[in-house]
């Protein structure tokens, strides 16, 4: 007769269940965002207490182009379209974001107007992490605030490097075009 493995005993199973970390969907989503990916679960829990979880219906705007930016959004579930509003034209969809994607993170550092509109494309649950929340964390948990700011800076540095690369490519193309035109 084959012996039952020790792990299948009900008492042991119950202990195992109790030892299992009970993490919410919001915590899991936050931990996947690169701004928070290096934080401990305890720190993620602090962030979860600071953020706002909102539900949006299909077609409901998350923010509009031109509104003063005040924070970033992380999609727990659903999808959000980023649109560029062009006067007297249908808004142009720039991208479609889904579960775990985030947008608007620059607004955490800068209150300048939103450069595009974000609209929920279906029933979506979205986490809002705003500048007041970040400021509050910086005031009460400065070490955690510094970690978030550092991660944000890294995101910006990566984007800046990629933009520089693009700029170099474009300027090379422009030089080639100018040279070709001059030769002609």
């Amino acid at each position: 007769m084959k012996e039952k493995p020790i792990t299948s005993y009900p008492l042991f199973e119950s202990f195992k269940d109790k030892l299992k970390p009970n993490r919410s969907q919001a915590q899991m989503t936050l931990s996947q965002v690169n701004v928070f990916s290096r934080l401990s679960w305890q720190e993620i829990k602090i962030i979860e207490n600071a953020v706002h979880i909102r539900n949006y219906g299909p077609g409901e705007p998350v923010f509009k182009q031109g509104d003063p930016g005040s924070g970033m959004y992380i999609i727990i579930e659903g999808s959000v379209g980023i649109f560029l509003d062009i006067p007297q034209q249908t808004p142009k969809q720039l991208s479609k974001l889904g579960d775990g994607d985030f947008f608007g993170e620059i607004a955490l550092l800068d209150e300048s107007p939103r450069t595009a509109s974000a609209t929920a494309l279906e029933n979506s649950t979205i986490i809002g992490f705003y500048r007041p929340d970040l400021m509050d964390i910086l005031k009460t948990k400065p070490a955690l605030g510094a970690k978030i700011l550092l991660a944000l800076s890294e995101v910006l540095a990566v984007r800046l490097r990629s933009t520089n690369g693009e700029l170099v490519k474009v300027s090379r193309k422009l030089e080639t075009v100018t040279e070709t035109e001059a030769n002609e």
């Binding site: 706002h52 705007p61 509104d67 924070g71 809002g128 500048r131 007041p132 009460t140």
Partner: protein, 374 residues
């Protein structure tokens, strides 16, 4: 078939009419009940709201300190308890040190009045003031009867003021308890309240709340720092007057604190702060014939408070108080008149309350404009 239908429909519509009438009556009855309850409970609601507003203001004042304690690694609840422990300790020390002095002062003044000496001495002082002023302004005459009756009224009301102090103490304790809850759980409460705002206005509401809180913190901190500055200067000034000119002012710490708090009311406050010092000095010098015949010590007190005001207006206030308190003198007078309808506390709170409202309105307007909602 159609006839049968019409026969069936008629009683059904009547039943429906009766049902709707019954529903309307029930709603009406409940509406009357709610309105009666609201009218009955209105004073209670106003009282509760008043306590909550005061607690919210205190929370705004103490929040930075609790935040600082939390940032040093202390849990928020322990930080709040530590701060309250400190405040209660300081108040207890003040009460232990101050109450016996205050009581002995009151009993001394009462004794003087009972001997009918107070009003007589005041008469002699006023007669002296009149004769001296008449040398420069012929025909000038201060109304002695009015001043005598005012001083008698002041002392007759002193007892009821002390009796009311116990009620005030209970209110203060209640306010402190609410403040403690706000300090510990305020952020969660605010988050839940803002969570009720529809998505369209959510970002804007959050921003307005944050900026208003920032502005209020700056405004109140500035006001308190300026008040503290005036209190410290008055304390130094009055101590110097006692030391240099033997002005004989007792309860310097209490008078300085009153001067500091009164300073929160622009234009009128500085004069209100000066009055207790003059009154105490007048009564302390009643038995002294030299002091009674020479009222220059009052001019010393006035001069000292004027210097304090000059330092406050030109050095301290420009540094610590934001420009949000800029008000027309007429506005201030009207506000104090309106506030006086709610008693002395109303007079004290009218101007700061207006200042706070101004900040809130400005921030809400800017927020609505920024989000293109107006």
């Amino acid at each position: 078939m159609s006839n049968q239908d019409s026969v069936v429909i008629a009683p059904q519509s009547v039943r429906l009419f009766h049902q709707s009438l019954f529903k309307t009556l029930v709603y009406f009855f409940f509406l009357i009940l709610v309105l009666a309850g609201a009218f009955k409970a209105f004073p209670l609601v106003v009282d509760a709201l008043f306590l909550i507003v005061i607690a919210a203001i205190l929370t705004t004042v103490f929040n930075p300190l609790v935040d600082r304690l939390e940032s040093s690694g202390l849990r928020r609840i322990y930080g709040t308890l530590l701060m309250f422990g400190g405040i209660i300790g300081m108040v207890a020390l003040g009460v232990i040190k101050g109450i016996p002095t205050l009581l002995s002062e009151i009993s001394r003044i009462k004794h003087v009045i009972q001997q009918n000496a107070a009003t007589d001495s005041l008469d002699s002082i006023m007669a002296d003031i009149n004769s001296r002023i008449a040398e420069y302004i012929p025909g000038f005459q201060l109304d002695l009867d009015l001043i005598s009756s005012l001083s008698s009224q002041f002392f007759s009301q002193l007892g009821s003021v002390l009796a009311g102090a116990l009620d005030t103490l209970a209110t203060v304790i209640f306010i402190l308890i609410i403040t403690m809850f706000f300090l510990v759980d305020g952020k969660r409460m605010t988050k839940q309240l803002i969570g009720m705002v529809p998505n369209r206005y959510f970002e804007m509401s959050l921003n307005i709340t944050y900026k208003t809180k920032q502005q209020l913190t700056n405004f109140l901190r500035g006001q308190l720092l300026a008040a503290l500055g005036v209190a410290i200067q008055s304390f130094i000034g009055l101590t110097l007057l006692n030391w240099l000119f033997d002005t004989n002012i007792s309860g310097v710490l209490l008078i300085s604190s009153i001067a500091g708090m009164a300073n929160m009311i622009p234009f009128v406050g500085p004069f209100m702060g000066m009055v207790p010092a003059i009154i105490v000095s007048l009564f302390n010098n009643l038995g002294d014939p030299v002091a009674v015949s020479n009222f220059y010590y009052i001019l010393h007190i006035i001069g000292m408070f004027l210097i304090v005001q000059m330092i406050d207006n030109n050095i301290i206030s420009p540094i610590v108080v934001s420009g949000s308190m800029e008000m027309h003198p007429l506005t201030v007078i009207l506000l104090i008149l309106v506030g006086s309808q709610l008693g002395v506390l109303g007079m004290f709170l009218a101007v700061p309350a207006w200042g706070i409202s101004k900040v809130v309105i400005q921030e809400v307007y800017q927020g609505l404009k920024g989000h293109h909602l107006i």
